[in-house]
Symmetry: D2
C-alpha cells in the first residue's frame, strides 16, 4: 500500500515519515512540500540519510499516487486536498484543526479565523480521537472514503485523563482545570524567539493563557463523553517546558457528592478514606480503558511522566484524590509527536483499513 504525506517537511510530517517507514503494511511513501519541492527528503532531514531519499513532489501528485493521504499542513489550507481525496475515494487523515470541529463552523471560525470552503465535507468527516469515536470511524470506513480530523496534542492528553470520570459520573459539575506542560517540538520546525535555546532552556513559562485554540476542542470532547452527566466548563493553561518531546497534563476534576470522601482534617495529611477512594477510582479508570491498546492506567504509587512514554503511542494515566477529598487529580503523559499527532494518525489509518490498531506503533518507550 502507498501512503502519501502532504506537508512532509514539518515536524509532524517528518514524524509520520519516521513511523510509516516502519509500518509493515506501507510499501512506499510519496511526500510533498511547498517549501522544499524538488529536494530530497533526506537532505532536509539528514537523520533520514540513506533511508528516505524520495524527492518532494506537489501535493496534487502525492494525492494521485496514494492509497491513503495524511496532511500535515498548517490550518485552513487543506480542504481542497481533502475534497480531491474524496473524489478519488481515498481516505484523508488531516493533522490540522480543519476537521476537528465536525460541522460546528462557528467555533472553528471564531478561533481559526476562517470559514469552511467545503461545508459539506465537514458533515461527513469524523474527529479522530479513537478512544471517543472508534465505532463511528469504523462505521464511516465501512461506507467509503473518510476524512479524519486528527486531534490536537493537548486535547488528546486532556480528554483521556477526564473521560472515565465524565462517563461514570464522578464529575460533579462546575469547572475542570487542565494544566499542561509541553515540549518544544509542539512549536514546530520554524525558529523563533520562543524556541531559541538560550531563552527557553532551563525555564518554564505559560503561554496563551486563557486564549489557546485547544480550549474549545478539549471542552467539546469532555461534553461529548459526559453524555447524560453535567458538562464541565474547562480552563486550560499550556506551559512550555525545556524538553523536546512530551506533554504532561494535570487535570483537576471536582467530584460529585457520591464520590467525595472524608479528608484528614483541615490542613492535615490524607486520610485512609482518601487512599481507599483513590484506589477505587484507579480501578475504575483501569476498567474503563481495559481494551484500549495505548492507554496505561498506572499502578498505585506511580505518577505519569513524559519520559516513560517517549517516542511511543502510549498515554499513561495516574490518579489521586486531593487532601480535601473533593477533587480528582488525574495526570496524563503522552508523546506530543506520537500519540499527540503522527502516531494517533497512524492508529486512525489502521482502523480505517481494518489493520490491528497496534500495527507499526509497537515501539517501547525509551526512558532516556
Amino acid at each position: 500500500m502507498i501512503a502519501g504525506i502532504i506537508g512532509a517537511t514539518g515536524y509532524a510530517g517528518a514524524e509520520l515519515v519516521r513511523l510509516l517507514s516502519g509500518h509493515p503494511k506501507i510499501e512506499k511513501l510519496v511526500l510533498s512540500s511547498v517549501s522544499f519541492e524538488g529536494e530530497k527528503f533526506e537532505d532536509i532531514y539528514p537523520n533520514f540519510l540513506g533511508r528516505v531519499s524520495a524527492s518532494l513532489l506537489k501535493a496534487e501528485d502525492v494525492i494521485a499516487a496514494s492509497d491513503v493521504v495524511f496532511s500535515a499542513l498548517p490550518h485552513a489550507v487543506g480542504e481542497p486536498f481533502a475534497a480531491a481525496c474524496m473524489e478519488r475515494k481515498i481516505h484523508f487523515i488531516d493533522l490540522s484543526a480543519d476537521f476537528r470541529f465536525d460541522d460546528d463552523e462557528a467555533v472553528y471560525s471564531a478561533w481559526y479565523g476562517k470559514t469552511y470552503q467545503y461545508p459539506e465535507l465537514h458533515k461527513k468527516s469524523v474527529y479522530g480521537l479513537v478512544e471517543l469515536n472508534r465505532r463511528k470511524i469504523k462505521e464511516l470506513a465501512a461506507k467509503g472514503s473518510v476524512i479524519i480530523g486528527n486531534p490536537g496534542c493537548y486535547p488528546t492528553g486532556a480528554s483521556l485523563g477526564a473521560f472515565p470520570a465524565l462517563a461514570k459520573g464522578l464529575f460533579g459539575g462546575g469547572t475542570i482545570i487542565v494544566d499542561s506542560a509541553s515540549g518544544t517540538s509542539g512549536g514546530g520546525r520554524e525558529p523563533s524567539r520562543s524556541f531559541h535555546y538560550s531563552e527557553c532552556a532551563d525555564s518554564v513559562a505559560p503561554y496563551k493563557v486563557a486564549s489557546h485554540r485547544h480550549s474549545p476542542e478539549i471542552a467539546r470532547n469532555m461534553a461529548a463523553m459526559a453524555a447524560g452527566f453535567p458538562s464541565p466548563q474547562v480552563i486550560f493553561t499550556p506551559h512550555l517546558a525545556p524538553m523536546s518531546r512530551g506533554i504532561l497534563s494535570t487535570i483537576y476534576i471536582p467530584l460529585s457528592q457520591k464520590w467525595r470522601v472524608t479528608p484528614g482534617g483541615a490542613n492535615m495529611p490524607p486520610s485512609k478514606e482518601i487512599e481507599a477512594k483513590t484506589e477505587e477510582i484507579r480501578a475504575l479508570y483501569a476498567d474503563f480503558y481495559k481494551d484500549e491498546p495505548f492507554v496505561r492506567v498506572l499502578p498505585a504509587g506511580l505518577a505519569a511522566a513524559t519520559n516513560r512514554v517517549r517516542q511511543s503511542n502510549y498515554c499513561d494515566i495516574s490518579v489521586n484524590v486531593d487532601l480535601n477529598g473533593s477533587t480528582l487529580i488525574a495526570v496524563t503523559a503522552i508523546d506530543n509527536m506520537v500519540k499527540g499527532a503522527a502516531g494517533q494518525a497512524v492508529q486512525n489509518m489502521n482502523i480505517l483499513f481494518g489493520f490491528d490498531e497496534k500495527t507499526g506503533l509497537e515501539a517501547i518507550p525509551a526512558l532516556f
Copy 2:
C-alpha cells in the same frame, strides 16, 4: 558584622554563602557542616575556589562567633541551636520547616512527624514571609532577638500569587488550585534516582501528588491574608521540570460574583469584558505590591517565566481571567534558591537589622 551559617554545605547553605559573600554589611562568614567538619568550604564547592576558604566548624562554634545565625539544616534538628541563639540574644533565621507553623504543633507534627522540643520558642518566633509579616518581624526585632521561620519555596510563590485576590475580596470561596513546577536544586545536594540526569532530563512529572508537606503552609498563609474574607481550600500539585533553578506556580482562584465577567460564549474566545477585567485586576495587583521591592507585577501581555527571575530575589506575577470569566489565573515565577530560600532569608536579616531590604539582593536576573 559576622554571619554564621549552620549546615553550610547543602544547596541552601551554599546559596547563603554566595549571597552573603557579596553583602556589604557582612565582614565575615563562619560556617559549619556535620558531614564535612574540618574541611575547607572551597574544597566542597570548588566554584568558590579562592573566595571562601574558611574551614567548616561545629555548629556550637559558629553560634559562639556570630552576630546572626542562619540555619540550613534539615527539618527537626535545629531547635537546640535556636535556643542557644536566643540565650546569646542573637537572631536565628531558620530555613527548615521547624518554625513555619508558629505554635500550631498539631499540623507540624502531623506532616513532619516530630513534636516541638522547645515549645516556648514557637510562641516567640515569626513566620518570615516578608510580604505577609513585615510589620510583625519589625515589632519583634524591636524587642530583642528573633527566631525567623523562613518560608518554604513553593509556599512563597503560591502565596504571593494569591495574596491580592484574597486581601481584596476577589476570591469567591471554594478551592484554590496551585499547580507548580520546580527545578532540581529544590531536591538538594544528595544524589538520588529522582534527580539522576538520565532519568529527569527532557521530562516533566508530578510528585507527592495530594501529599506534599508544603500544602498546609500554603493554606495557612492564604487564610491569614484572607482575614475578613472566606478562606480557601487549597489543592497543591508540585512537578519536577528539567531545569536547575526556578519555581513557576499557576494559581487558579475562583472569582466572587462581584468580580465575575461575561465570557465570549460557550467555547468562544475571550470577550472584551474579560480583557478589561484582566487589566483591572492587573492594576489592583500592581497597586497591592507597589511598595514591595521584590515583587514585579508584569505588564499586560507578558507571562511570568522562571528565566526572567533567575538568580534574583524577584517574584514576577502575571494575571489573566479565564475564558469563562469565572476564575483568576495568577502565575508567579521565583528563583527557588533565592526568593524561595536564601535570598528571602537575607531579606529577613536586612529587616531584623534595619538595613535597606534590598541590601545584598540587587542582582539583576540573568536571562540565560
Copy 3:
C-alpha cells in the same frame, strides 16, 4: 529463539531488552538481575509497563533457558557465565571489558585490576567490533559457540573514525588525538554526584583525563587496522556533556607527506587545495564503508551530530582537512547505548546466527 540477558536492569541491559523485544527472530526473553531478583522487569522500568512483565531470575537459570546469552554485568564478574555458556555450546555476548583484549592479560589486568579466571576462554573469544572483525566472527561461529567481547562505547566511535585513514595509509605516524563528549547514560543507572542533574546540567567538563580505561582499547584497535602502516600513539580525552545519549568524537589524524596539501597561508582561510583534498578523502571514506550497513559517511558540508543518530545503530562520519593542510579531522557520532553498546551486541548476534545484520536494528534516528 530465546535470548537471555544477564544483568538486565542496568542501562545497557535495559537497552538490550528494548531492542530485542522488537527483534523478529527472538520469541522470548529471559532476564536476570542480582539487585532485583524475583521482581518484575516492568516494575523496575515502568516505561516497559505491559510490555515486559517477566520476573528477574538467577543468571544460572537464564543460561539454562537460552539459545544465546547477553551479559550486561560489570567488569570482572562474567567469566564463569561465559564458561557455562561454552559448556552449553551457546553463544555468549559480553558487554563488559572482560573479553575485549583477546589474550593480552597484561593490559587488561593493568587497567581493570583483575587477572583472567579462565585464560583459555580468552584464546577463543573475539573482539566484536564488526567493522574490524566481521570475518573472524563468522569463521568462529562456523566452528561452534563463540564468546564476543562487545566493544566499549568510546572505542567504537573513535575506531570507526580513524579506520579508513589507517588502512589506506593517510596517517603519517605520530599521535592521533581523540577528543570525545558523551551523554550521561554512559554513566549507568546508579545515582552519583557526577550525574546529579543540578551539577551536570548546562555544563561541559572532561573526566579521567589521561587515565581512561578505553585508551588502550582504542590504541589496540587502531594498531590492528593500521597493519602494514605505522601504528599511532593515542591520546584520548572523554568529556561529559549535558545530554542523555550520544557520543561525539573529534579525531585528529596527522597526514602522511603524500596526503598533505598546501594551506591558504599562515593564519589564512582554507585553500582550494584543502577543499579538494577534503572531498578526495571523503570519497575514500565513503568507499571504505560502502558495504557497511550502519556507517554513514556524510556528504560535504554536513558535520556529524549526535541527534542525527539518536536511538539508531548508525555511526555518522564527517571529514575535514585542517587549515594547515597537515591533519585530517574526522568526526563521528554514535548513540552510546545502541551502536556503542546494545545495538552493536545485537549486530554481533545477527552475524553469529547468520541473520541479516540489520535485523531488529532498522530504527530511523529520531532527530528530537
Copy 4:
C-alpha cells in the same frame, strides 16, 4: 561616570548592561540600538524590568553623552564610532573583531571580508587580552584615549590555557590542537535552526570545522606569547553543546624533549613519572598566573568545568600529561558571556581608568 553601550540589545550588549548596572564607578548607562531605537531596554529584556528603563538612542547620541563607550555591534560597522570616540578623546572598547588584529589588515580582510575604513586607528588600538597586553594597555591609557579590541570568546580560553607552556618553553614545536565546546549564547539573540531548541538540545556537534574565524586570532596570540620559542601551528575545532553559557577548551600541547617523561609503557596506565611531571607543570602554571585576579589554576585532581565559572569572570585551568608522556593537556573553562565577552571588556575598562581590576566583577560563580 557615564558608560555608553552601542548595540545594547544583542546578548553581549545586554550582558554589559547587567554587569555595568552593578559597577560601583558607573553612575549611569546610555544605550543605543538600531533595531529597537526609541523603545525601553526593559521592554526588550523584561528580566531587567524596573531596573533598566532607559530608552534606546542613536549611537551618535550615546557617544556624545558618555565618558567611555562599549561597542557590541556586529563586525565591520563600528570603525566610524571608534573614530568619533577618539575625536571626543574617550576610550572605545570594541567587542567585535574589528580591532583584534592590530594593523594586520590582510588577515582581518581574508576572514571578515572587509578592509579597514580608518587604517590609522588600527595602529593606535590594542588587543585587549589583559593577561597578554596589560602593560601595553596601561601605557596607551597613560597617553590618552584608547581603542580596545576585546578578544573573541574562544581565543580567550584557548590562549590562557597555552600561555604558560608557550612562555616557559614547555611547547616543543609543531601543532597545538584546541578542541572547544560552547554554549548557545555565543550564537547571539537571533533565532535560527542551529539554535532551535528541538534541534540543538540533547546533542553535541562541531561546526565551521577547519574554517572558524577565531583560528587566526588564537594562532596570533600563541605566537605572541611564544616570543623566543617556536610558534605553533594551531588547529581549532568549535562544537556546540546543549548549554546556555560557557566554553570548555581542551588544548593539546606537544612537550619539548626537556619536558617529556617516561610513560607507563605502551597502552599502560600513567607512570609515577607522569604524575610527578603533571604536578610540576601545575605548579608552573599556578606560578605564572599567581598575580592574575581572574585565572584559577585548579588543584590536582580537579578538572575545569563550565558550571564552576558560570556568570563569573574567572578562567579555570586544569593540566595533565598524557599517557605517553609526550603531550600536555590543558583544559580551560570560562563563561563565554563574561570572561569571553562583557566581563573582559569591563576588566579592560577598569585598567584604562586605573580602577581595581576586579571592580564590578566579583560575582562568585553559581554552580547551578
